[in-house]
Amino acid sequence: MAAQRTIDVSQLPTYAFGHHALTWWATWSMLLMEGTMLLILVASYFFLRTGVAHWPPGTTPPPNLFWGTLNTIIIVVSFFPNHLAKKASENLNLQGVKLWTIVTFAFGLTFAVIRIFEFKNLNCHWMQNAYGSIVWFNMGFHTTHVLTDMVDTAVLIVLMFTGPIEGKRFVDFSENCIYWNFVIVIWLVIYATIYIAPRVL
């Protein structure tokens, strides 16, 4: 039998970070979908805005600034431990991953608790009018992402301590950080929309 020319791939690595990894594409796919959803949500907010003379309609005050702004500061600061967790994952540094992921998780937990006060200070109810509906929809959308990310992160933290830690696990750790970054970015958009826009527009 004639010799077949071959390419031997047996020495290639068995995991990779960033856009080399398959799961990176899945993560970004989800961010694309959810990002589209965010844009449509915000567009709907402003579309409904055009229907009435005053915004918020009638004598409703806009959401109280305090808790929302506090939460914005917290989530922006959480970018830093999150980033360090991502770098630690890419360096296969398990101690660093543990530390910074737990710090980020603590930030997330604080954020989620303060979110309760945010809801109490929205000054509107979803049943009240379309304004109330779209404000709650935006808040609900973001809160869902916060909770989803918290559950993901909790599962990964458990795995960090139980092991076994293979290469792919570090890829998971680093991509979980991408998701939290997304949660930060969409919050900035939603904060600007429901807290700032009614005050300046």
Binding site: H19, F47, M127
Partner: protein
């Protein structure tokens, strides 16, 4: 020159004359690793893209037949004036179910299903990316379809039209659960479409055979890539819209309630921002079928590959800028109407480029008129006609005149059936030998075509005229006005002829599956990679991952084209390549068969259906969903333990060494 450079890069890694492993032994080992397990247990756990793809195709076809039966019932009702066969309430449910099923349970899933089966074969890999997600996507789609049909059989079928316009679909005018089932069906289909789109994009970007650079990707694969990206931007919109609708109905929000500052027009914007791209989500993969079929049957490479790819991509973009042309009757500002008229006419340009490239390919080739090619020629005739009426309606004054008449019904059936179903039937005839290992009967195939072609035109051409005569769509009966009865009867006869054509196809399918001529690997002498393996392909697709040296790989490759070796045979290893140039990058291990996708689909279904009846289902239902997803994700300890030392400890040790060395 550039091609030669790429070629040499691939060759550089080729070791000289390594003896090939014994093929028999290799086959057995791979089959043991990649094959489905037997029995019901194996059936429910399968994650093989071909098994799931076949299920997907058959399920989508079953929904096509169900929706076709609903259409036949409507045509019986409309075959003569003042007919009493169906009452108005049932008729409303039937036309809604027909449209909803055709769009959400047949067209989109069918296009994805074909991609799920074909894309990994066409790019030369062993599996689709994220095979468990793929199985999940199928189950969730199946459960959504079953849910809406059960609701329909219990007289709770949606009845506000496939686009469920508010206020008709809102809580005030549609009490009961009918529209809620519609809204949740959308959620099911959308979840399925989104996960499959993710798999398709990742497979195409990261799992191509070495040497398959971007400009060597088969056109069909380009087409589904564009489709998948369109799904990303279109489906979330409808997900959001249907959620807002169900919130209005269940927890008294006011998104679409004008009395409380809501706006029904918002629904139309959201729906059509999804709904128009949806048409292209269905049409673009069909153009991929055409670009795959034509070169094979005219015996030459496609003319204008780059122009075709660019047309696909620009259609994908322009498709998102047209939605308002569905809303000309809502009294939008004139300037906006003018803009969307222009945008609608603009999308004709890439479509025309595609058609001219195909015609040029046929012109320069030596056509062999087998059934798949005949369906493509039928497509030209019907789709161009539908495109013409499309250009007519792009103009907003004409649009206003024919709005909500049978002219519109005629138009969109011409573009959808012509643009999508005819190429699909061509594709089914074309790839049937690959799916089953046997040929469809050529004579029955041609009978199928002519029955469908004549039946289609007889059914839908008279509807143009009915529209001009003023017959509105979605009426369950009509008075005996001049000319209406004859044209409607003609349409009904046509519809049954078309249905008969589909029946002949089914007969052909069942006969040939067992008794058709044996196909062999490449019965049509086609040029793309799926024809390089056996028919039907083995569970692992290719004995050796191939490498690629040009477009239409099988036509252009030299006899000594290298193959990939070194993938393990006892685990499901897949070669990951670089996105742009297709160079080998790393190796990933894919999951074994598992029940988790089915469990996750069941828990998700519980949440979705529960939420129709109580909003609290979203809260309580999320717990089993979370548990099933965590169970799915949880690493298998044994495999991980094997990999951990090699992947982490050794790599760290190596790094320390080099760092120590430099210090």
């Amino acid at each position: 020159m550039e091609a030669r450079k790429e070629q040499s890069q691939v060759e550089k890694q080729a070791a000289v004359a390594v003896p090939v492993e014994r093929e028999e032994r290799l086959h057995e080992a791979l089959e043991k690793t990649w094959g489905d397990q037997p029995g019901l247990w194996g059936y429910l756990r399968s994650v093989n893209h071909k098994t799931v793809g076949k299920r997907f195709i058959i399920t989508a076809f079953a929904f096509f037949i169900l929706a076709g039966i609903l259409a036949a019932l409507m045509r019986i009702q409309l075959s003569r004036p003042e007919n009493k066969f169906l009452g108005p309430d049932l008729y409303n449910q039937i036309f809604t179910m027909h449209g909803t099923t055709m769009m959400f349970l047949f067209a989109v899933p069918m296009m994805e299903a074909m991609a799920v089966y074909l894309v990994p074969l066409m790019v030369g890999t062993r599996s689709i990316a994220f095979p468990r997600l793929n199985a999940f996507g199928y189950w969730i789609y199946l459960f959504g379809g079953i849910m809406v049909f059960v609701a329909f059989l219990l007289n709770s079928g949606p009845d506000a039209g496939w686009f469920s316009y508010v206020p008709l679909a809102g809580p005030a005018y549609s009490p009961g659960k009918r529209v809620d089932f519609w809204a949740q069906l959308i959620t099911f289909t959308e979840v399925s479409a989104l996960v499959v789109a993710t798999e398709i994009i990742t497979t195409i970007f990261k799992l191509r055979a070495p040497g398959m650079t971007l400009n060597r990707i088969p056109l069909y694969v380009w087409a589904v890539l564009v489709m998948a990206f369109m799904v990303f931007f279109a489906m979330p919109t409808i997900a959001l819209a249907s959620t807002a609708l169900i919130l209005d109905r269940l927890v008294s929000t006011h998104f679409f309630n004008p009395a409380e500052g809501g706006d029904p027009i918002l629904w139309q914007h959201l729906f059509w921002f999804f709904g128009h791209p949806e048409v292209y989500i269905i049409f673009i993969p069909a153009t991929g079928f055409i670009s795959a079929i034509i070169p094979t049957f005219v015996r030459r490479p496609i003319f204008g590959y780059t122009a075709l790819v660019l047309s696909l991509i620009s259609t994908g973009f322009i498709g998102f800028g047209l939605w308002v042309h569905h809303m000309f009757a809502t009294g939008l500002p004139r300037l906006g109407q003018g803009f969307f008229t222009a945008a609608t006419m603009m999308v004709v340009i890439p479509s025309a480029i595609q058609i001219f490239c195909w015609i040029a390919t046929i012109w320069a080739g030596r056509p062999i008129f087998k059934t798949p090619l005949i369906f493509v020629l039928g497509f030209f005739f019907i789709f161009v006609l539908g495109g013409m009426t499309g250009v007519m309606q792009a103009s907003s004054p004409v649009n206003l005149q024919v709005h909500d008449t049978y002219f519109v019904v005629a138009h969109f059936h011409y573009v959808l059936i012509g643009g999508s179903v005819f190429p699909l039937f061509g594709a089914l005839h074309y790839w049937f030998p690959k799916f089953t290992g046997r040929m469809l009967d050529e004579r029955l195939g041609k009978i199928t075509f002519w029955l469908m072609f004549i039946g289609f035109n007889l059914a839908f051409f008279p509807m143009h005229i009915l529209g001009f005569k003023g017959m509105p769509r979605r009426v369950y009966t009509y008075q005996n006005l001049p000319g209406w009865a004859t044209l409607n009867l003609l349409a009904s006869i046509g519809a049954f002829t078309l249905a008969f054509g589909v029946l002949v196809f089914l007969i052909n399918f069942f006969r040939s599956r067992k008794r058709g001529a044996v196909a062999g690997n490449n019965p049509w002498n086609a040029g793309t990679l799926e024809w390089a393996t056996t028919s039907p392909p083995p569970s692992y697709n290719f004995l050796h991952i191939p490498t690629v040296a040009g477009r239409d790989t099988l036509w252009t490759q030299p006899p000594d084209q290298p193959v990939v070796v070194g993938l393990k045979t006892d685990v499901r290893q897949v070669l990951v390549t670089k996105m742009l140039d297709g160079e080998p990058d790393h190796i990933e291990e894919f999951p074994k068969p598992t029940l988790w996708p089915l469990i996750a689909a069941i828990t998700t279904t519980g949440l979705f259906i529960g939420s129709i009846f109580t909003p609290w289902a979203v809260v309580w239902g999320s717990i089993p969903v979370a548990i099933s997803l965590i169970g799915w994700f949880w690493p298998k300890e044994k495999q991980s333990e094997e990999r951990a030392p090699r992947e982490v400890k050794e790599r760290l040790a190596r790094r320390q060494q080099t760092e120590g060395g430099t210090a």
